[in-house]
Symmetry: C2
Subunit: 112 residues, 2 copies
DNA sequence: TTAATACTCAAACAATGGTTTAACTAACAG
DNA sequence: CTGTTAGTTAAACCATTGTTTGAGTATTAA
């Protein structure tokens, strides 16, 4: 084992501030962006042109929304020539959703 | 006209449209509303005045945001006299988050 | 009744945000 | 070089939204 780097640098934070979570939810709050995320969740990795074509939106509109998703750290970008392939940051997404799931874990008890 | 309760009105939908999910995420996208939801997730059931006091916001501001949460069906309201007690629709919340969780179920592989 | 509490509503304002359009850079093929 | 593809940027326009403020309704208590 080599000396391990800072845990924070590799492992995403286990807890989020309210503002951070609100920012992630805001990135998912628009139908167009949500369709982008759903498409990437299903297809895995797609270029901007592929996403624009499959969602029937302009490339400029995708680029506009991708900035919001990247700034929320939900989108990861890999470059190959003049093409940029986008994929989902599933770890961050799951952590954010799980943070919520842990709050009310117990099923609602109807018995008095 | 006679309004009979459709089954959809009673049984929560097992799947969501993109617009429905975007609406729920939009309700969680504001820090103030997210704090309301987090507080209710922790405390269970609170009146509007209690929420406004604990979050240090005006009652009018809570009322304003509660409309958004109610319209997203995330907030359930029970009335007792002049007091309205708010609680979280945990079923809807979990269903919406689980819908996302099912997309990329396999844990992220960190090994390079 | 009067007064206090709990909540709702609406106007006003500033700020943000989604979409389109057009111009722009960067990479590749001929 | 020219032309094409992939992507970015910015302006403009319109719509939505978060917050404050003040007034209004409803319930309860004295």
């Amino acid at each position: 084992m080599t000396d391990r780097p800072e845990p924070e640098a590799i492992i995403a934070p286990l807890s989020f501030s309210t503002e951070q979570r609100a920012k992630i939810f805001a990135a998912l709050a628009d139908p167009t962006r949500l369709r982008i995320v759903e498409l990437l969740a299903a297809e895995g990795e797609l270029s901007g042109s592929q996403i624009a074509t499959q969602l029937d939106i302009s490339l400029a509109l995708f680029c506009h929304h991708s900035r919001t998703l990247v700034e929320a750290d939900l989108l990861q970008v890999r470059r190959d020539g003049q093409t940029k392939y986008n994929s989902l940051n599933q770890m961050l997404l799951h952590q954010c959703l799980n943070t919520f799931g842990q709050i009310g874990e117990q099923p609602p008890d109807v018995s008095s």
